[in-house]
Structures are given as structure tokens and as C-alpha cells.
Amino acid sequence: MHKESAIREPLILGHKTYHQITEDVCKPIEDKAPRMWYILFSIAAILGLYGVGCILYLLGTGIGTWGLNKTVGWAWDITNFVWWVGIGHAGTLISAVLLLFRQKWRMAINRSAEAMTIFAVFMAGLFPLIHMGRIWVAYWVLPLPNQFGSLWVNFNSPLLWDVFAISTYLSVSLVFWYIGLIPDFATIRDRVKKPVPKKMYSMLSFGWSGRAKHWNRFELVSLVLAGVATPLVFSVHSIVSFDFATSVIPGWHTTIFPPYFVAGAVFSGFAMVQTLMLVMRKAMRLEAYIHTKHVEYMNIVIMVTGSIVGTAYITELFISWYSGVEYEAYAFINRATGPYWWAYWAMMTCNVISPQLMWFKKLRRSLLFTFIISIVVNIGMWFERFVIIVTSVHRDYLPSSWSMFYPTHIDIGIFIGTIGLFFVFFLLFARFFPVLALNEVKTILKSSGESFKNDEAHSPAYSLADQHLAFKVSHDHNDDYAHGHTTTQVETGPAVEPMTEAPADGNIEILLSAVGKANADDKDDLKLLNGLGPAIETKLNNIGIFTLAQIAKMTKAEYDLLDEFIDLRGRAEKDDWAGQANDLLNNNEK
């Protein structure tokens, strides 16, 4: 039995039931996309297409179309690569490391953070590929038998380790993400009506049935994958840092790089999660699940990792003096006061100072402020990589070869293009995938849901009545109905067991409040309806349905409820009782 202390803030606001969680997550997928989605998607797609165009031009013409020169051999390309890989760290950290630390708040954000991770790693992987120039021989980086001439990959090079580290990370992240999606896909599969989507979702959900055995295996596999993914969170960015730290370039070679790069990656990844999540929760009306407390937790992670990064900057700076190595010291003096001073100070301001503002509770709980800082941090982390890469190499050991780097429009176009492509992927994800791990969120409803925590739940987490309510509220805007529902008192007190036996009286009340009450004196001959015999009529009378007017008001929801009371096997819907009753009533009036 798990206990949750009363002083912990609830993770799910308001009163939600299991069914409402399903509704809230699935509705955006089942409804038509809002116009805003199309607008954003078009913008992203145009940017992405522009980027693809730039990439094609680059491949056709050559790497010379970038602003690289003999001294600055790595610039925006690797900056962008490291930036995207870094962003791709939050997802797996959230889903794996926070799973091991039993942080329940992760359940609201892990799905979309993982999706973001995967898309970010896609974007990252693009840069080393196009940096090869001749991408059609990309397979040469694989240690294949030596039949291409005298080529054999250099296993001593961290760049090769990167290939393996990142592809391992990508595959494990993908599997982890997909395993989590299976039960949620099954939920959608069971809800959709159209045959094609139903087929699609049932293929995606691998025949998930929701049996206890499936859940058992699901949890086991999640734990195992979390164990596998956790070292990967560390290894990927450690190896990315080796790309720099193994070389003898002042400003690159320093032992603190691996853990400091990991911290920086988590820092930027969480900033991107904040940027996306703050918009998404609003657009998809998930405010009850991703709320201020989640934002606050993420801001604390940003503050902590930002402080680690800041400490590492200062450590590097101090040791560059302490070491007594003048090249090392110059590398840092050049960063702060050389021609790229603005990049250095942009990095310092965005990465060291801005996260410190999160110490103020007011600020870290302010959504607008968080949104601004999350963008500031992402800008800062881009500059960090730029500073490390470009300012360290642009003035090398030989002053006669010192030079500057100026980006060309191809540099800029490809970078912007990756941002566009990233959003194309993310918007598609938000459109067709459950953006919240709905089945996981359900597991914490009773322990961390606001109404259950405060003991104010006016209905249990699972009840037909509530399902009905949710259905009505989302499908019907009729004032009468709304009025009827707000005044309807369903069951009181938190009943815990799911109702599997005879329906409670509350459901009858719901039904009657929807169709209106009547008494036996006004009784119509219900047998006038096709498919309604005397036996069913008696049953209907028993639950308080006497008139054609009542039946005329029935919709799908009421039919379903009726099916609970009287086993009609959908006959009411098939024979369109309400339509028939309406016709009869109209004829009578004439």
C-alpha cells in the first residue's frame, strides 16, 4: 500500500475520473484539428522544406557552401549537432531516471518529452551525416570489411564512438517510448469508430488486452529499459564531450567535460520541454494534468543543472589560471574579451544568471516567466556550444592562421530548417498520438488526484454515471442538459470499487434527468414503436420511462445507459426509437 503525505501538492487538479482522463487525452486526436494546428504545421513545414532545399544544395555543391575555413573547421554544423543532442536528453532522463527515482510527476510529461527527444536526436543525427559531404558513402563509418580501398574506421576516435553511442541511444529511446505507447494506443483503438484508423491503431497496439499479465510484463519491461537507458543518458553526452576533450586544444581539453556536458544537456532538454509543454497544455486543454507544480519541478531541475553548468564554467576558468598553462589561460581570456566576447557573455547571462532567478518561488511558478526563461536557456545553450567550438579554434597556436567564422545563408537555412522539421514531427505527434501517458496517469489518480487527496471526491474514480456525465458534457451543449447535470447529485462519498454489478440508482437519475421525469398517469403506449414489445415496455415503466416524449429525447448516451438496465443489445439505437417517437409525437400534434 502506498501512502502519500497530505502536504504534497496534488498532481491532478480538480475532480477527474478514469474515464475523464481518457476523454481528455483522446479528444484532441478524435476531433478535427483546430485551425491553429494547420497554421503552425504550415509554417513549420515551409521552414523544414527550406532547410531540406539548403541541404540538397549543400550536398550538390559541397561543404564549401558553409562558412567554414581552414582554421575554423567546425562551426555551426557541430554546434547545431551538439545542441540538438543535448535537447534530446530530457526525454530519457524524465522517463528513465525519474522512473527509477519514483517521481510521479513525470507521468504527465514523459510521453511528449520522449517524443521530443527522439525528434531532436533525428535532427542531431542529420548534421554529422551532411557534414560528411558525400553522404552516399555514409556507410563507410560502419566498421565493414575493408573492400572500399584502404578505408577502415578509426576506433580510437571519439567521433566513431559517437556514431554508436547516439544510435544506441536513439534505438533504446524509441523502444522505451513505444512500449509506453502500446496501452494508450489500445485505448484509442477501442474508441475509434472509423475502420481505417481502427485498423491502424490496432496494429500499433500489438493486440494489447489490458490483462493483469500484460500490465505485469509492461511494468517489468519499463523497469529494465529504464535501467538500460539510465547509463545511456550519461554515456551519450559524455562521448559527445570526448569529441572535444580528447584533443589537445586549449578550451577543449579539460577533464570536467563529461559530467558538465551531461548536466548542460539535461539543462537545455528541460528548457525545450518547458517551451513545448507550456504551449501544449493550453492548446490541448491539459491544464489539470500539467500544471504549476509540474512546471515548478521542471524549473527546479533547470535551476540545479544550470548551477552545475555554472559551477563547471567557473571551475574551468579558475583552473585555466591555476594550471599556469598560458595557452589554456589565453583561451579563456580570448573567449571573454576577444572578437567573440558577445557570444561568451550571452552564454554566461543565459546559462548562469537566468536559471538562478528560479530561486524565487513566485518566478518559478509563473508560467509566462518560465516560458521566457526556457527560450533564453535554449539560446544560451546554443551559444555555449558555439563558444566552445568556434572561439577555441579560431585563434589557434599559430597567430598567422587566426581567422573568423561567418555563417552563410546555407548555414542559417539548415539550422532553421531543422527547427522547422522538428516542429513538423512534434505537431504530427500531437495530432495522432496520445500526448499524455493516460494509462500511467490513471495509476496515480487516487493517490495524487486533488479531489481524492482532499477527500472531497463527489463520485468515485470509476463510475458509469460519471462516464455518462463526461460524455454529455463533451457532446452536448444543450442548456437543459447542462442544467440538469449540475443539479444532479450523483453518488456521494468516494466509493472505491468499480461497479460491475447492477447499476446504482444514481444512473437512473442521470437517465431521467436527461430525458425528463414522468409518472404513470401520463403513460403512452410505447408498443407503438417498432421493436418494442410488451416485456420491454414493462421494464421501461419500471425505471420510470412512461412517455414517448421521454424516449424522443434519447441520444446515444441514453441508449447506452438503457442497455445497462435492460439488455436491449443496441436495439434501441438500431431501430432509432427517438426518431420514431419524434415522428409519432409530430403526427399526433397534426
Binding site: S5, I7, A245, H253, T254, T255, P258, E316
Partner: protein, 406 residues
């Protein structure tokens, strides 16, 4: 339940200390230089004093760090073992006292060839052993600034330790204010982490890295901290298991032990990660001013140095990987004791490599002093445990911890 130190434990710790003192005396006697021989005795003695006082001080401060971390992250499960952590952190005043005695002696002996930068002959131009590279660090490495920093570290650590302990005990008698006290701890925990983030690195540079006065590594502070944290976790597990064996802590269940085991496992990995990162990058770049640190250690302590890495990395990884092992008292104690010895060896090589170098040896003096400190540490921790009820009361997460199940 109140804990009482058993007579057996009292006896054992006293015996450890007495035997340790005898061995130390024997070691000192044996290391006395004969006619015309060069004496390394003072250096040897002080280097050993530094190894042990730093090692146990580091366990105390890491326990305090762990507690602050649990407070700051609003952790629930640790509440029922929190008194054990407090008792281990309670060694801090002793550890600090011993470190201060060491530093004071060293300051009066011009660093005794351990801290060469304390020697004005090394640091001042025209001195008999003038070293330009060391002198270049004079603005940071000088006795006055060293003491200012050391006193600040210790004062801050001590104040936080006392504060956490006082509030924890106060909570037991104050059911109304318990939640308020918890939130104070939450804030102070975060504040402590800020200080610790800076001081853990800088204090390691001052006390350990400056022994190899030419050498530098940006990761060194985090590396030493990771080792200390791992040692502190093993001490916590072993202490909890000892108490449970005696029938105390009835509410601490397998899940708590499992969590402590996981932390031991995780911090072992953290330490190995730091060790590897530092070693690999220095080996790969192969710059003389950096490789000197490892070359010297590999030359004089090859077996010990790599053996220590193998034990501290492979033992916990292979043995503690399985879930059942992390719940098994015997396995945890066995692995814990071995990696504790492994991390002690790590500190020993850190200090000895830079100070004694080729003249270092492992004999009665080393064993004796290690025993004295071990005895003292266990004695202090046990008597701290006896000073307060083992299970705290009224902590808002107490219920979560009592119902802990994973």
C-alpha cells in the same frame, strides 16, 4: 526505541583504538631513522593522519550532503533511517578537529613536504627550492588564504549539521510545528547544497589536489566527492543492517534496505564514471603536465591503484546488480566493507602518491592509524545513535516511509 551501545561494541571499539595506538607507536618506533639516514617519519605520520582524518571527515560530510539532498528533494522513504544518517554526519566535529590538527601541524612544519606550497623556500624567488610553477599559484595557495577558506568551509558545514540535528530533534517534541520544521529543513537543505556545490570542489583542491602542486584537473573535486559519497552510502547501509540485526529499527523493511543498496550501487557507478572520465581524457591527450599524476602512481603503486579501481567498480557492479542482492544483509555488508576499504585505498594513494611518492610504504604505522580512526569513528557514530530515538516522530513523510514498498 532508544538505542543502547552494547558492552560488546564498547569493548570492541576500545580494543580497536588501543591496538591501533600500539601499532602506531610501533610503526613510529620502527620508522625512526638510524645514524646518517634521511628521516621521513614526520611526513609519513602526517600523511597518514591526513588520509584518515580526510577519509572519515568526508564520510561525515557526505552523509550530511545526502541528508540535505533528501530534504531538498522532499523524499519520503528516508525518514525512518534518518537518525542513522544524522549519527554518521555527527562525526563531523571529530573529523574537522582531526583535520584542523593535521593542517595546523603542517602549517608549522612548512608543509612537511606534503604541502610544498607552504614552504617559503619553494614559493619565494631566490629560495633554495624555488619552483616557478608553484609560485605562480601563490595568490591562491598561501597559508593565510588556505586557513581563511578552511575555517569558512568548516564553520558552514558545522552550522548546517547542528541546525539539521536540532530541528530534527525538535520535531519529535513538536507535533504542531512539525510541518513548519520540515519546510525549514527543505529550504536549508537547498541552501546547504549551494554551499556544498562550491566547497566540495574547492576544499578538495586545497586539501588534496595541492599536494601534487603542479598538477591540475577540473574534475578532481567531483571525483573525490563521488568516492566520499559512495563511502558514506556503504556506511549507512552497514549501520542500518547492524541495528536491524540487534532488533532495532523494526519499521525499516526490505524496501528501505533495497533503496540504500541502490544508492550504494549508483554512487559506485558515479565514482567509476568520474574515475574513467578523468583517467581516459588525461591518458588520451597525453600532455606531460597532466599525465605526471598517473605516471607517478602507476610507477609506485600500480597494483594498489588499479586493484582499487577494479574493486570499487567491478565488485558493486557485478554483485549488487541483482535485486535480491540489494536486499540481502550478508551480501550488502560484504560488498560494503570491501568497497569501503577500496575507497580508503583511493584516498591513501591520492595523498601518498603526491607526498611520499617512492618512499611510501604500508606497514604497522599505516595499519595502526587506520585502526585508531576506525575505532573512533564507530564509537562516535554509535554513541550518536544512542543520543536520540531511532525513529523520528511527527515528520510529515513518516507515514510514507513506514509504508514504503517497492
Amino acid at each position: 526505541m532508544e538505542f543502547q551501545v552494547s558492552n560488546k561494541a564498547k569493548m570492541l571499539t576500545t580494543v580497536l583504538m588501543v591496538v591501533g595506538v600500539v601499532f602506531t607507536a610501533l610503526g613510529v618506533f620502527m620508522a625512526m631513522p638510524g645514524e646518517g639516514q634521511e628521516s621521513h617519519l614526520g611526513q609519513k605520520f602526517l600523511a597518514n593522519l591526513l588520509v584518515n582524518s580526510f577519509f572519515y571527515f568526508a564520510i561525515g560530510i557526505s552523509a550530511l550532503f545526502f541528508m540535505a539532498l533528501q530534504y531538498a528533494t522532499e523524499t519520503g522513504w528516508f525518514v525512518s533511517v534518518k537518525r542513522v544518517i544524522e549519527a554518521i554526519a555527527g562525526f563531523l566535529p571529530y573529523g574537522m578537529g582531526l583535520l584542523l590538527i593535521t593542517f595546523l601541524t603542517l602549517s608549522f612544519m612548512s608543509g612537511a613536504h606534503i604541502y610544498q606550497w607552504m614552504d617559503s623556500e619553494v614559493m619565494q624567488e631566490g629560495g633554495s627550492h624555488y619552483d616557478e610553477l608553484a609560485a605562480g599559484k601563490g595568490a591562491y595557495l598561501n597559508i593565510t588564504f588556505f586557513w581563511i577558506r578552511t575555517v569558512i568551509y568548516m564553520a558552514v558545514y558545522y552550522l548546517f549539521m547542528r541546525g539539521f540535528r536540532q530541528r530534527s530533534l525538535e520535531q519529535d517534541n513538536n507535533p504542531e510545528g512539525a510541518v513548519g520544521i520540515h519546510f525549514t529543513n527543505y529550504k536549508k537543505g537547498a541552501l546547504f547544497l549551494v554551499f556544498f556545490a562550491v566547497f566540495s570542489s574547492t576544499s578538495t583542491w586545497d586539501w588534496i589536489m595541492s599536494i601534487d602542486v603542479h598538477w591540475f584537473s577540473t574534475l578532481f573535486g567531483w571525483y573525490v566527492f563521488a568516492g566520499a559519497w559512495c563511502s558514506a552510502m556503504t556506511v549507512m547501509v552497514i549501520t542500518v543492517l547492524y541495528l536491524k540485526k540487534l532488533g532495532y529499527l523494526p519499521k525499516v523493511n526490505e524496501s528501505h534496505i533495497h533503496d540504500l543498496g541502490k544508492w550504494t550501487f549508483a554512487t559506485s557507478f558515479l565514482w567509476s564514471y568520474m574515475w574513467f572520465s578523468q583517467y581516459m581524457l588525461i591518458w588520451y591527450a597525453n600532455i606531460p603536465e597532466e599525465t605526471t599524476y598517473y605516471l607517478m602512481r602507476i610507477e609506485h603503486f600500480k597494483g594498489i591503484y588499479f586493484g582499487m579501481f577494479f574493486i570499487n567498480f567491478a565488485f558493486p557492479m557485478l554483485i549488487l546488480m541483482s535485486r535480491d542482492a540489494k536486499r540481502h544483509a550478508g551480501i550488502l555488508t560484504f560488498v560494503g566493507l570491501i568497497i569501503l576499504a577500496g575507497h580508503w585505498t583511493d584516498v591513501w594513494v591520492m595523498v601518498m602518491g603526491g607526498s611520499m611518492g617512492p618512499t611510501a610504504s604500508f606497514g604497522t604505522l599505516e595499519i595502526g592509524m587506520a585502526l585508531v580512526f576506525l575505532g573512533l569513528f564507530v564509537k562516535v557514530v554509535l554513541s550518536n545513535l544512542a543520543k536520540a530515538p531511532l525513529t523520528p516522530k511527527y515528520h510529515p513523510y513518516l507515514d510514507e516511509s513506514l509504508h514504503h514498498e517497492i
